[in-house]
Symmetry: C2
Subunit: 164 residues, 2 copies
Amino acid sequence: MNDFLTEMEYVGLTSRLKRLSDSLLYSTKELYKSEGLDIEPNWNLIFILLQENEAMTITEISETLQFSHPAVVKIINKMKKNGHVETRTDTEDKRKQILTLTEKAYKQLPLFEKYWTAGRQTVMDLLEDSPNFLEEFLKIEEKVNQSDYMERTLKNLKNDELSN
Amino acid sequence: MNDFLTEMEYVGLTSRLKRLSDSLLYSTKELYKSEGLDIEPNWNLIFILLQENEAMTITEISETLQFSHPAVVKIINKMKKNGHVETRTDTEDKRKQILTLTEKAYKQLPLFEKYWTAGRQTVMDLLEDSPNFLEEFLKIEEKVNQSDYMERTLKNLKNDELSN
DNA sequence: TCTAATTAAGTAACTGGTTACGCAAATGTA
DNA sequence: TACATTTGCGTAACCAGTTACTTAATTAGA
């Protein structure tokens, strides 16, 4: 393959993560489009959550997925537009929007699930020769969660300066 | 941590890749901003390439990084605006833009390199407990390159249908 | 040699995320 | 009980990528 970013080792990793993530994202969009499915990447997560929990708020979903809340607002607005999600204002706390799946959503679920199952199989295939990947990826996430890139880099900088 | 996407195993991986990639990206931007550095994430790659090769075109860079060419145009335009890159039209092929680093860029390089070295150290730290990560990540990239997510998923779908 | 096909690069419109900000409702407190 | 703080969520502006399209220059071929 002879990929420059790979040759860069540690320096190229961030860009490679984005490149792979984007590649999966665009390929998924293309798949749904080519099959005439009226859904988008990530929606499966919302479907799963709302099936499991019946009703959730924007904030609950954003905390569960660890996405920013505006990201969830955008996804939900699209799903509402497509008639897969409906909202009502909570009667006890009028700030809250209660989200539920529509009847249309439940009707289409079996079809969608075929695609999601096949997609899940694809990820399993991709990971087949990388038996430690999920475990080691989790370790990286945990480290970044515990202290982020900036914090770590500033600390490294300070250490470098001290040792000069 | 109890992360929903992690619990989802294969289903959550794509979103986790994006989440981590974004987290690194925004953290890097914040680092440069807080330190008053007039550069952006990815620019180190262009600096390295233009140092090694003296002069390159947009297309050469986009092929080397495996980015789309408009992505490179955008990065280069910003670097030109900041005075780190200059362009001239190739005399033999007037379609081509020859990119080179400016004097200002070379002057600032030693400073930037301190940050890039510290950042490289951060990635090394993050990967410390994941000794197979780079190798296994490469395997996934190669698989996706060989046959993308959509192609694989359509194939899985067909297989599922046949076995019913 | 003229024309068709290819190539380089710029632009526009879009994507799924982000941060920053604002408003209204709920909660805590002096 | 009134006022300050917090919370939920919507909107705006931005970001780094993408695809699709355009234009101009070069190359290939009848």
